[in-house]
């Protein structure tokens, strides 16, 4: 057995982290089930919202946590997924053709591959340019490109421009009824599990070993005969695809998509969620998303100025609790 990641006494904390992870999953599944039994649809949808936002953060965590790439532009991919779902729903509701050429579908199983492919292509372009640089350049360039796509979404007058686009009928999934809140929750939960599993497998694979080394020591990786650039680029694309998938679900959850999904605030929030949960921890995004959505919902219920408190909490985490929430719960400092 290879004790790979850190020190020997780490094993103990690993298992404690697994318990925390399991607890998170149990909580996140039981809340909507109990809420359904109590006929509280609001809490089902709130749970779904947490799940989807967590998934967007799982995507970013792959690039940021495991690959050390601080992308400040992931909202672009989140929004891109959202717009694919929204535009598909729009055209199939109206019975019109996309760009006057392509028939639209309201089948999620057709919409998702398009969203994933679209995100992959955009991420490949953005990544190819921005990964030639690192550090501060990378942060600013990803931010700038995301802003470009944001302005592009505003210019989409056919799809509501600045006002956004309503999804009148939620897109359909092959099994179950996507309009049933609990069914939709189950669908999103399954998607989240898939993305976690995918991340886990990839981080443990040859590719993941190279990605870890790209983050820890780029020179070592190149000297070992592996191009850091290609490894990072592929990781960036995968990361963008996961976040875009979450975006497609988010649009269907809200029945609405608008440019604010691509705003740089949203990019910042996704980073915040990853960091709140704990950078480079597999289940960190879930803890982060729970904390974020609860703060947003309950503080937002008390005061319009809830972001003031978010700012203070965030400042506290950055300055004093670098392991994130899971780090606090397991008494373990930040990874990597």
């Amino acid at each position: 057995m290879i004790n790979s990641i850190t020190s020997l006494n780490f094993t103990k904390n690993m298992s404690r982290e697994s318990w925390v992870n399991l607890l998170l999953l149990v909580v996140i599944v039981s809340v909507p089930i109990i809420a359904t039994l109590m006929d509280e649809v609001y809490y089902v949808n709130l749970s779904t919202r947490i799940i989807i936002i967590a998934m967007a953060a799982v995507g970013l965590n792959f690039a940021l946590g495991f690959g050390g790439m601080v992308s400040f532009g992931h909202a672009a991919f989140f929004g891109l997924g959202g717009y694919v779902a929204g535009i598909a729903a729009f055209h199939s509701f109206e019975g019109t053709l996309f760009l006057g050429l392509i028939p639209a579908s309201d089948q999620m199983l057709l919409i998702w591959p398009v969203a994933l492919l679209g995100a992959a292509m955009i991420a490949l372009l953005i990544g190819a340019i921005s990964l030639r640089t690192q550090g501060v350049y990378f942060i600013m360039i990803t931010l700038a490109f995301a802003q470009m796509i944001y302005y592009f979404s505003i210019s989409l007058t056919t799809y509501g421009g600045e006002d956004g686009l309503s999804i009148i009928l939620r897109n359909n999934f092959a099994i179950g009824n996507s309009n049933n809140p609990l069914h939709f929750f189950a669908l999103c939960f399954f998607a989240l599990l898939m993305s976690l599993w995918l991340s886990h497998r990839m981080v443990g694979s040859r590719f993941g070993a190279a990605l870890t080394m790209a983050k820890l020591n780029e020179t070592r990786l190149a000297t070992a005969g592996i191009e850091p650039y290609s490894i990072r680029l592929v990781a960036f694309v995968v990361s963008a695809m996961i976040t875009a998938f979450a975006g497609a679900l988010f649009a269907d959850l809200n029945g609405f998509v608008d440019p604010s999904m691509l705003s740089w605030h949203r990019s910042g929030e996704i980073i915040v969620i990853v960091v709140l949960g704990g950078v480079g921890r597999l289940f960190g995004p879930i803890a982060g998303a729970i904390a974020f959505v609860l703060l947003e919902t309950f503080l937002g219920g008390f005061t319009d100025r809830w972001q003031l408190f978010l700012g203070l909490v965030l400042l506290g985490v950055v300055l004093f609790a670098r392991g994130g929430l899971i780090g606090l719960m397991t008494g373990n400092a930040r990874h990597g």
């Binding site: 980073i271 400042l315 950055v318």
Partner: protein, 305 residues
């Protein structure tokens, strides 16, 4: 399009570029000397605009307001630097991004608490309200003032950095952080000073622009991102790069918004040309950035790494 109109737009572009330079020079100075990426720079711009609008409202003097705007942002800069920023110099970029993102939230909400969520309006003195004739172009005096201020600031920064003892220390800090300690310079005071200078420039920019548009929470954020584009194009850490990048972005953006829609009219119907043209125009500077980075990944004037 007539020559006069093109000239006018060119002047608008320069004026926009000057404003971006005021923002970008502070950002790039702070990065060059302290290695800090400061997302909250746009918030200092906003603070400057609010203080300027408030002081102008009370005293009735725009000039006092302008001074107060720059000074207010500088004071806020010092407070923020001492409380938060100086803990970040040794941290990685992710921590810097997060902490300064948190500062944006705090400063935005704080400003809304103090000044309310309604936009404020700044009135400029009547001397500046007119227009003057420049050859065939009639151009607003106020915008010319902004251009002049920008030229003076660029000159002032050049003199500060190349001719003064403080500038020498700043250059030493850029080149060698250890040496500056060995010289017996108090680094933390120097860093606070540099941050305050950057903040004052941002506050000045906010105050000047506040009279062209409304003064509201969140006004600093689009400007911040453009300033990032500017310093990425110019080369992070280079004041000269910031100046040239700012002019390039200001002019390309302004002319693009005017020229592109009419350009597409050559081969499209007017309404389609207008929408395609304006969509492309809003993305133009980012495309410019992409092209420059594809050729020079470290920008036009990369500072010493």
């Amino acid at each position: 399009m007539t020559l006069a109109l093109t000239l006018e737009q060119l002047l608008n572009g320069i004026q926009f570029g000057v404003m971006l330079f005021l923002m970008a020079s502070g950002l790039t100075l702070i990065f060059g000397v302290m290695g800090l990426i400061n997302l909250a720079h746009g918030s200092l711009y906003m603070v400057g605009a609010f203080v300027c609008a408030y002081v102008t409202g009370i005293t009735g003097s725009f000039w006092l307001g302008l001074l107060a705007g720059a000074l207010g942002a500088a004071i806020m800069g010092v407070i923020v630097e001492v409380l938060v920023i100086r803990r970040l110099y040794q941290r990685d970029h992710l921590d810097q991004v997060l902490a300064t993102f948190a500062l944006i939230l705090i400063l935005s909400e704080g400003t809304a608490l103090v000044f309310g969520s309604q936009p404020l309006w700044l009135d400029i003195p009547s001397v500046l309200k007119g227009s003057i004739e420049l050859g065939s172009v009639v151009y607003p005096v106020y915008r010319i003032l902004i251009i002049i201020v920008g030229v003076l600031v660029a000159l002032g920064l050049y003199l500060l950095i190349s001719r003064t003892r403080i500038g020498m220390k700043i250059r030493a800090g850029e080149n060698d952080r250890e040496m500056i300690g060995a010289l017996g310079v108090n680094i933390s005071v120097l860093y606070t000073f540099v941050f305050a200078v950057g903040a004052a420039l941002a506050g000045l920019a906010g105050s000047l622009v506040g009279a062209l548009q409304s003064v509201e929470v969140g006004m600093g954020e689009p400007v911040l991102i453009l300033a990032f584009v500017v310093i990425v194009i110019g080369g992070i850490g280079s004041i000269k790069g910031a100046l040239i990048g700012a002019m390039l972005v200001g002019i390309v953006d302004t002319l693009g918004r005017v020229l592109l829609p009419s350009f597409f009219q050559w081969f499209m119907e007017p309404s389609a040309a207008a929408s395609v043209g304006s969509a492309l125009a809003s993305m133009l500077i980012y495309l410019l950035m992409a092209i420059i980075l594809a050729i020079k990944p470290k920008g036009l004037f990369p500072a010493n790494d």
